[in-house]
């Protein structure tokens, strides 16, 4: 018996992590008491507040794991974990910097040029430079290797042409990391010949237009690249190895607290209304939510601990995302026992707005960053069924 029994070890939490948590909590409590931000459901995808991002930068809470010379603090991934989960738990508006801090910064660190590291990383860490992901396309969703965006080699650089879809927040980002085909797919080797580029969004030939989602929010974008020139040193990593880069980042991307906390703030506000007088059914519902969130967090921290110790827990990470995203959807349904979801958002009642926004945003949870069908496929492969 070993193949399908997974281990989720406890991460090593030293005093500095406890201190950091209480520092972040104190700061957030003060921000909330002084109404400096409005709590947002799905805040890491829907809550944009550039001032707030800058404030986190000033606090030194962005890019914390990066080398000091690039604006980081050389703290552990667990320090970052604690910061991000505290922010998510209060629905803080963290979308603007989220991708840059989680993904693009680390990508630049591992695959970028020295110039990029010097010029861009300190600005990300300061909460002033934001990134969007250029992965999906009109014809390429779950089947990402079928992207049609081309990068053609020209004198001194590359010329990118194509359309990227669903890139969140591109309207306020300075950069997009764009996955493009740099050579034709060979039979049976379609994952080769893909390359990631760093593209400044103010480049000539870039046109971005917003797409409204069913909740009414305009955070998605369609980004057109019409013969956009980028110099040779915009290539992230090696030409043709973009796929490997993207898949190697996935364990980190899939197992974080944003995969089960997107709607947690709604639980808090439902409790604010009802906690002094819960009936038995409500007590059971909220108790069940707490129990599941604790279990998911134990899993997610377990994956973080495995990553810290140099392992690659891809299957475990896929499990966290599959279970976690379904859970954060389920939270909304269960909380209907506290309050019916009746009204269009914007009536000024915090709980009503959070409930409505959560319900209307939750279909995206099990799609973004790899659909749950794709995730189950990863699990099936991991246990030898594929």
């Amino acid at each position: 018996m070993s193949g399908i029994r997974f281990n989720f070890p406890a991460p090593e939490l030293d005093q500095s992590i406890y201190d950091l948590r209480s520092e972040v909590r104190t700061f957030l409590r003060e921000e909330i008491c002084n109404d400096r931000f409005t709590p947002v459901t799905d805040c890491w995808c829907a809550g944009v507040d550039l001032d707030f991002s800058r404030k986190l930068g000033q606090k030194g809470w962005l890019g914390v794991t990066w080398p000091k010379q690039y604006g980081g603090r050389e703290l552990s991934a667990l320090h970052r974990y604690v910061i991000t989960e505290e922010l998510l738990a209060v629905g803080a508006p963290v979308h603007a910097h989220w991708i840059a801090d989680r993904q693009s910064g680390p990508l630049i660190l591992s695959s970028g040029t020295e110039d990029m590291k010097r010029n861009i990383l300190p600005r990300i860490a300061a909460g002033e430079c934001f990134f969007a992901l250029g992965l999906s396309e009109p014809e390429a969703g779950s089947d990402l290797a079928s992207v049609k965006t081309r990068a053609r080699k020209v004198d001194g650089g590359w010329e990118i042409t194509g359309t990227k879809l669903w890139s969140s927040g591109a309207q306020h980002c300075q950069y997009m990391t764009v996955l493009a085909r740099t050579s034709d797919p060979l039979e049976g080797k379609r994952h080769e010949g893909l390359t990631q580029f760093l593209v400044p969004l103010d480049s000539q030939g870039v046109a971005i237009s917003g797409i409204r989602d069913m909740s009414g929010l305009m955070h998605f974008n369609e980004s057109h690249f019409d013969s956009v020139f980028v110099p040779d040193d915009s290539v992230l990593g090696k030409v043709g190895e973009g796929w490997k880069q993207i898949t190697s980042e996935l364990a980190l991307e899939r197992s974080g607290p944003e995969r089960f906390l997107s709607t947690f703030i709604v639980v808090e506000h439902a409790l604010v209304r009802a906690a002094s007088d819960l009936d038995a059914r409500q007590a059971a519902i909220v108790g069940g939510i707490i129990a599941r969130v604790r279990a998911l967090r134990a899993m997610s921290l377990g994956v973080a601990a495995l990553l810290e110790s140099g392992k690659s827990p891809d299957v475990e990470a896929a499990l966290v995302k599959d279970l976690g995203t379904r859970f954060e959807q389920d939270v909304v349904e269960r909380l209907r026992a506290f309050r019916p979801i009746l009204w269009k958002s914007g009536n000024g009642d915090v709980l009503d707005d959070l409930m409505t926004d959560s319900l209307l945003r939750q279909p995206s949870f099990t799609l973004r960053g790899g659909t749950n069908e794709v995730l189950k496929g990863i699990v099936a492969r991991g246990i030898g069924l594929r």
Partner: protein, 362 residues
């Protein structure tokens, strides 16, 4: 766990895979105690894992004992190893003599019998392990304090029944019963703490059994062919197996976390709030998995999994029993909700906002 713990686990695994077949579970359900298996386990000293060395035990960690329990459940061990471990622990912490045979746990999470001037009165609806045991261990209340009593089986009224997994559960009626041993007050043991500890025991067993349900399913869908290919090649079936793996992993993570919390607690049987919430969560999540995992496993197995012959059903019936014992999902989720309400009401203007997160991270 240290090196010795790992060696013990290794030996236990070998012992169980050699002689603990589901045939033993079948025989046990027909009323025959599998003597070879019983003697081998007693001889191995495993039931004494939680008994300190100075009382003749192994002196193993709580983590070791829970891992043994998980392992035993993954073999559907038809003997009260888990119950004996706890009963022996209770004897040891209360300074009573620990026998070398099976020991029954005369406790089911319900009301405790009451001791007055050395006589015990009360009813235990679902004692476990009482069929094989040479000693019945019963936690009792005297003037609001816990003591531990032990009885020789021949001296008390017992009515054996079987839970839906076929495990013996016994109604014990104590009428002015005189214990063969009665401890003094035990300060580091509370009724809440004991209930929680036993709930964790069942949660760990559920996860152990589910480990095996996943293994059986994976093997079955890899071998069974329909429409010209293995069932496991169909995406619909793969998704079910992935769900089995996921729910088991989730319950496993919750249980691991609860075991860590209990292991790190200064007084693990006192039932403080941080162990309470960890265990409540573990039993809740394990209880939910006890529904979801068998549902998917049986669907993947087709009619074969429904037959008595095939091993799956032993594990299914066990997790369906264990999820009810020492508090179901319904009990423990409400317990957590009430804990929140309680803290809010006694919070003296402390902000409610953040309470849920506080409990999620405590």
């Amino acid at each position: 766990m240290n090196e010795t713990d790992l060696l013990i686990l290794d030996a236990a695994e070998r012992l169980l895979s050699d002689i603990c077949t589901t045939e033993a579970a079948v025989r046990y359900e027909q009323g025959q105690v599998p003597e070879d298996l019983a003697n081998a386990i007693l001889d191995s000293g495993l039931p004494l894992a939680w008994v300190p060395e100075e009382f003749g035990g192994v002196g193993g960690s709580l983590a070791l004992g829970f891992e043994l329990i998980r392992k035993a459940a993954s073999f559907a061990l038809p003997l009260p190893l888990a119950e004996t471990l706890v009963a022996n622990l209770l004897l040891a912490v209360s300074g009573l003599t620990v026998p070398g045979r099976w020991t029954a746990l005369g406790y089911d999470g319900g009301e405790l019998p009451v001791a007055v001037r050395g006589e015990v009165n009360g009813t235990i609806e679902m004692a476990s392990g009482a069929h094989e045991a040479s000693v019945i261990v019963v936690p009792v209340l005297e003037k609001g304090h816990l003591r531990v009593a032990s009885f020789a089986p021949s001296t008390i009224d017992m009515e054996h029944r079987r839970n839906l997994a076929g495990e013996v559960r016994t109604r014990i009626i104590l009428r002015s019963a005189i214990p063969s041993q009665l401890s003094g007050r035990i300060e580091n043991l509370t009724e809440d703490g004991l209930r929680q500890f036993c709930a964790l025991l069942r949660a760990v067993q559920i996860v152990g059994a589910l480990d095996r349900v996943g293994e059986l399913t994976l093997d079955y869908v890899a071998e069974r062919k329909q429409f010209g290919r293995a069932l496991g090649k169909f995406q619909a079936v793969q998704n079910r197996v992935a769900d089995i793996v996921g729910e088991t992993a989730l319950a496993g993570a919750a249980v691991q976390q609860a075991v860590r919390t209990v292991s790190n607690a200064e007084r693990p049987l006192r039932g403080d709030r941080s162990t309470a919430i960890a265990i409540a969560s573990a039993k809740f999540v394990a209880g939910e998995a006890a529904q979801k995992v068998p549902e998917n496993a049986h669907q993947a197995h087709g009619a074969m999994g429904f037959s008595y012959e095939y091993p799956l059903q032993h594990f299914t019936r066990r997790v369906w029993s264990w999820r009810e014992e020492f508090g179901s999902e319904f009990y423990w989720s409400e317990y957590i909700g009430e804990l929140i309400q309680d803290e809010v009401q006694s919070g003296h203007g402390d902000s409610v906002l953040g309470k849920a997160w506080d409990l999620a991270t405590r």
